[in-house]
Amino acid sequence: MTDTPQNITRRQLLRGAALVPVAGALAACATPASKAPASSSAAPVATSAANPFGVAADKPLEVWIFDGGFGTAYAKDIHQPLFKTKYPQAQIKIESTKEITKVLQPRFAGGNPPDVIDNSGANAMDFGALAQDGQLHDLTPLLDAPSWDDPNVKVRDLLDPAVIEIGTYDGTFSVLGYVNYIFGIWYSQKAFRDNGWQPPKTWDEFLKLCETIKKSGKMAPFTYAGKFPQYLYEPLLTLAAKIGGPEVLVNIDNLEDGAWTSEPMKQSAAAWAEIGAKYLMEGTAGLDHVQTQTAQNKYKVAMLPAGSWLENEQKTTTPADFEYGMFPLPDFTGSDKMPYGTLHTSPGENFIVPAKGANPQGGMEYLRAMLSKKAAGDFSELVRTVSVVKGAGEGRQLSPGAASASKAVTAAGANTVTYRWQTWYAQLKDEAIAATGELMTGGLTPDKYLERLQKKADEIKGDSSIKKFKR
């Protein structure tokens, strides 16, 4: 008897099995390898006024939507059909995910990214990294193209200038914010009416209101998404800008020396630390945005800071007569640099066209369709929010919260502020999140809090591996 198999087919099988991993060797390669650049940047079709980017009518288009507060219905029911009316032959594939990075980062590394991406949410890809590597298509042609509705109006003229400023990386406009996020303090108009409470105009009134609500025993005065303290550093920074002017935030963005420890920042940090010590709903530090927002819907807490996506995000738990309302940050002193009504607004839902995608012309055309009056107006109505397209909300039925936010924007006029450090420097954002949580629970004094953030900002400034931005 031999101790080897006699069956020839079994040996063939073994040999075959040994070959399988060899075939897989290429797939297991983790190190990126340079490939010849794709030749997709040249327009496949001649350009014209009706077709400013030279879109090939039958080239497929792949779109990825972040499946967040706005869902994905707007892409499938509004944008895709509109694009189809002009390019009926084009195959459009709308995909969605909550994990943009996990799904799409390998495709960038592999050199075959999709054509349009809504790069948003907590797991969005880092714009700085994408810009640094030349992965973002230049969207300047989109700005200079005629708008979808009117050939005499350029796309540029439809947009808020902040969209262009915020979407510019390394001097190139490459990220299109689609939604105008409006930040403020949100409350139930019904609860305030029923209890005779008034949205405060000054910080003293705000503190008095908190005291009144606390004493009434009906609900807690204030809360924020304790697990995500970025919800609180937003009003903290906005209040500082209101006290000291927009340059407070510009200096922070530019990593200037002592930007975090400036006097307005100290006043604001101390003011919010007081709210944290006295007026927070019990357990706030351990609750997330959904839990705190739902507590508000149940009338367990009166006010919380959030952005204009809130109403849509909470639509399933909000009572029908809740009537969301939003008020801007109150005047801190009589001598604030910026007037009452100053708002933090920031374009969000960031759409990009990857430079190395198969059909960047189609991608830009898709964005142009999104910026039409019809698409933007339908979008505002469907997801109860304000888009960046000027006048798209006119004559539309807006929900109470969206109406309240739109009114606040109109009232603010040019008095809007914004900051960008949190998208530019992810490490600083994580540090600010950690430290703000500590500030609000009393683990850090306002001075120590700002010193800690200043230290991190200085560290980033001195780190040559981190790309720096200026505004």
Partner: protein
């Protein structure tokens, strides 16, 4: 005869070729590539990373958060095996030997307890993490804080207080690990000849001396194995921390561990080069632990 030997070698090679190739391609080769990536400034999206030598490693030495993570791993490395083994040994002893008077059996109902202790092991780590998020909730809906608040005590921020969060993570890890080691130690106890216990009992040994004079020395090998397993678990803990804690390793980085920092640097900061450098450090820590534990556990076996 020679031919037979040749055939035999071919046969073995044929069987080994597939697993060895798989191992080389999917385990060894990525390790080597990670060493290379650690010396580049790759940000994950470009096709041409720049070689930067040891820059990432020199940066790593002044990265306070990474060293905080290392300290947490070190604390886990000591505490997790210690607590788990003590608790598991105690339960295994009670379930198998410590029950009743006279007879050498487990306490009553030990078969049922054995099944219950094993439950946590059956659950996926992510499930455990989400489950304990609810258990630790800081308001009235929390399983622990609900009763506390009903008694009028202020709720405890199990996951939101930076001084407590680490202990919550440790507690969950011990809770999940104990069941498996109860079973492991039970198996170890089963292989100890009964007459040893009986002889000791006849000599008048109580439960205490049965445990310390007979059970523990004869189980020592199994305990060492458990120690190494739990040490590895403590070094590569990730999912519990990432899923369960606030801000993935927070609040204020109070629960972060090496693997979480690697993930954070790679997938939220897009510093794949730097993250690989952290991975290389973790590799050396793990290899170091393996060498030390192998050295220390060289000990004569007791033959029955």
């Amino acid at each position: 005869m020679l031919f037979q030997r040749y055939r035999r070698g071919l046969f073995i090679t044929a069987f080994l070729a597939a697993p060895v190739t798989l191992y080389l391609v999917y385990v060894i080769s990525p390790y080597i590539q990670a060493f290379y990536i650690a010396m580049t400034d790759w940000r994950g999206v470009t096709a041409a990373p720049r070689f930067v030598g040891f820059e990432n490693f020199s940066r790593l030495f002044s990265d306070g958060i990474f060293w905080q993570a290392v300290r947490h791993n070190a604390a886990l490395l000591v505490l997790l095996p210690l607590l788990t083994i003590v608790i598991a040994l105690f339960f295994a002893f009670l379930l198998n030997v410590g029950g009743g008077t006279g007879g050498l059996q487990g306490i009553s109902g030990s078969k049922l307890y054995r099944v219950i202790f094993f439950f946590p092991q059956v659950l996926a780590v992510a499930v455990v993490a989400v489950l304990f998020q609810q258990v630790f909730r800081p308001d009235g809906s929390g399983m622990l804080n609900g009763p506390l608040m009903a008694l009028g005590v202020k709720p405890i921020g199990f996951l939101s207080d930076p001084d407590i969060a680490f202990w919550s993570v440790l507690g969950v890890m011990v809770w999940q690990a104990v069941g498996f080691y109860v079973v492991l130690f039970s198996a170890g106890l089963a292989s100890i000849p009964r007459d040893m216990f009986e002889a000791a009992q006849i000599d008048g040994a109580g439960r205490g001396s049965l445990f310390f004079r007979i059970t523990l020395p004869l189980l020592w090998d199994t305990v060492q194995v458990a120690w190494v397993y739990l040490g590895i678990l403590a070094l590569d803990v990730f999912a519990i921390v990432w899923v369960m804690t606030d801000q993935h390793g927070g609040p204020d980085f109070s629960t972060t561990v090496m693997a979480a920092e690697i993930y954070r640097n790679a997938f939220s900061y897009f510093r794949f080069g730097y993250a690989s450098a952290l991975g290389v450090m973790m590799f050396f820590f793990t290899v170091g632990f393996a060498i030390i534990s192998l050295r220390l556990s060289r000990r004569e076996r007791i033959e029955y």
